[in-house]
């Protein structure tokens, strides 16, 4: 198994700030916008984006939630491994809000499809957008595209994109791993 660095810590940091600025450009003061990190790995990115918005750009009204999509997935009883659920924490109303889904890697689009169904259990958002750090091209199973993307990469099927965060792997970086 070999791996190569797609993005290092400095590049990740620049991209996160750019994504934060793009969000501000579209959503102004975030008074009618909520950020939702998708469990499990999108949560790290969502927390980081929220932190940058609050601390570096002094946006006060950031509402951040975490959404678990396990019970909405389309591969229940189909894989070898059982699905493991994570915690959902949405302590605000999503009805009529602009929702921004945040996930680390956009691959087949199936997780996002599940998230689109899951969020409806909480109400009817006005609009839903998608922010993703890595957009894997040519690998979609569904017609889903990101509204904000950190970096677009071409990756062949037996390769895996793995995002590391300071919080869980002691470094900010993105690797391309050959299986």
């Amino acid at each position: 198994m070999s791996q190569k660095v797609l993005l290092n810590a400095k590049e990740v940091n620049i991209i996160l700030h750019r994504l934060a600025c793009q969000l501000i450009e579209k959503h102004n003061d975030f008074s009618n916008t909520v950020l939702i990190g998708l469990q499990p790995r999108g949560v790290f990115l969502a927390n980081r984006i929220a932190k940058i918005l609050r601390e570096d750009y002094k946006v006060k009204n950031i509402q951040l939630g975490h959404l678990d999509i396990t019970f909405y997935r389309d591969d229940f009883r189909r894989g070898d491994k059982p699905l493991e659920a994570n915690k959902t924490e949405i302590n605000f109303i999503v009805e009529d809000k602009n929702v921004v889904f945040i996930d680390d890697v956009l691959y087949t689009g199936r997780s996002i499809r599940s998230a689109l169904t899951a969020i409806q259990s909480f109400g009817r958002p006005k609009q839903i957008e998608l922010l993703t750090l890595i957009d894997r091209r040519f690998s979609r199973h569904l017609p889903i595209q990101p509204d904000y993307r950190g970096r677009q990469v071409d990756v062949i099927n037996n390769e895996k994109v793995k995002v590391h965060w300071l919080e869980n792997e002691n470094e900010d970086s993105v690797y391309l791993i050959e299986k």
Partner: protein
């Protein structure tokens, strides 16, 4: 661990500590789900579940049915009073006929102890025991432990007394197994005639003085006197039973600590507990009912994930 060690839930006896932990963690997620504006997930769209009740039930039947519907399973309900069982059909025939309609899982309550185990050996479906005679009632024990965990933080090291008709109670036996598996201390308390002779062999304390038992415990689980299962008189009168083993507000106030009161239902108000106790803030009886749906969703979900496509 993310998978149960069993393919059926026949009794707590067949589970291990990790299974209980997994069921509780999964139930935490479902508890959040059932408090959403839309309390339903699509996980079990392709699963059909038959609820076979050969004995009366209100809470358990409704709770299972709701749990199944919240998971989007298709549900068939069957009660023996309106069925061909009355015409002499055997249990295996009844169930196999139902299964031939492509049913994946069976939730069964039956008056005979061991009916679930028997069925699991003879039919191809995942079986959940919803009470078999005076043997086990595993989902009730799970929701009881889950409610204790929710109220007191953890079950380990806690002292729980089960009061009342231990002899005829499947809830008592399943609770003893579940609580001990999680490291709690268990005591049973009731008239000597309603405590099985060798129950101390299970490692539980036996006490016939209610005040001593209540002073010892953190949680009191009050059981109903099961008159329908009694063929002889086990105590002189209901009044005398209530005087010795009924919990009332003055008794609770006289203790040197605040204990948690539980009851699996249905309550005979004024017999095992008075109304002011059942409705007091120390009572978690209605939390138990709400947790019952989350626990049953967890059990059904985890067993369904093991059914091959």
């Amino acid at each position: 661990m993310s998978e149960l060690s069993v393919n059926h839930l026949l009794g707590i006896k067949y589970l291990n500590k990790e299974d209980i932990q997994l069921i509780f963690e999964t139930a935490d997620h479902f508890k959040e789900v059932i408090n959403r504006p839309i309390k339903k997930v699509p996980s079990l769209r392709d699963i059909t579940i038959a609820n076979l009740f050969f004995e009366n039930s209100t809470r358990t039947k409704l709770s299972f049915e709701l749990a199944e519907k919240r998971l989007s399973a298709d549900v068939l309900n069957f009660s023996s009073s309106q069925s061909s069982v009355k015409k002499g059909e055997t249990l295996i025939d009844t169930v196999n006929n139902i299964l031939s309609m492509k049913v994946d899982m069976v939730v069964m309550r039956h008056p005979n102890p061991g009916a679930g185990v028997f069925l699991s050996k003879h039919v191809k479906a995942s079986i959940i025991n919803a009470g078999d005679g005076a043997h086990e009632h595993p989902t009730q024990a799970l929701l009881d432990s889950y409610s204790i965990r929710e109220t007191l933080g953890e079950v380990k090291g806690k002292k729980i007394v089960i009061v009342g008709d231990i002899l005829h109670s499947r809830v008592a036996l399943s609770n003893i197994f579940a609580l001990q598996l999680q490291g709690a201390q268990v005591m049973v308390c009731g008239p000597k005639t309603l405590i099985p002779k060798y129950i101390d062999k299970l490692g539980v304390k036996v006490e016939t003085d209610l005040i001593k038992a209540l002073n010892w415990c953190d949680v009191a689980n009050m059981l109903r006197v099961q008159n329908e299962r009694m063929d002889i008189n086990y105590f002189p009168s209901t009044r005398e039973y209530t005087q010795q083993f009924g919990v009332h507000k003055e008794l609770l106030d006289s203790l040197n600590k605040e204990i948690v009161i539980m009851h699996p239902g249905p309550i005979n108000r004024g017999v095992e507990i008075t109304s002011d106790v059942a409705d007091s803030k120390q009572s978690i009886i209605l939390n138990q009912v709400q947790n019952g749906v989350a626990i049953r969703m967890a059990v059904i979900y985890l067993l369904a994930s093991k059914i091959k496509q």
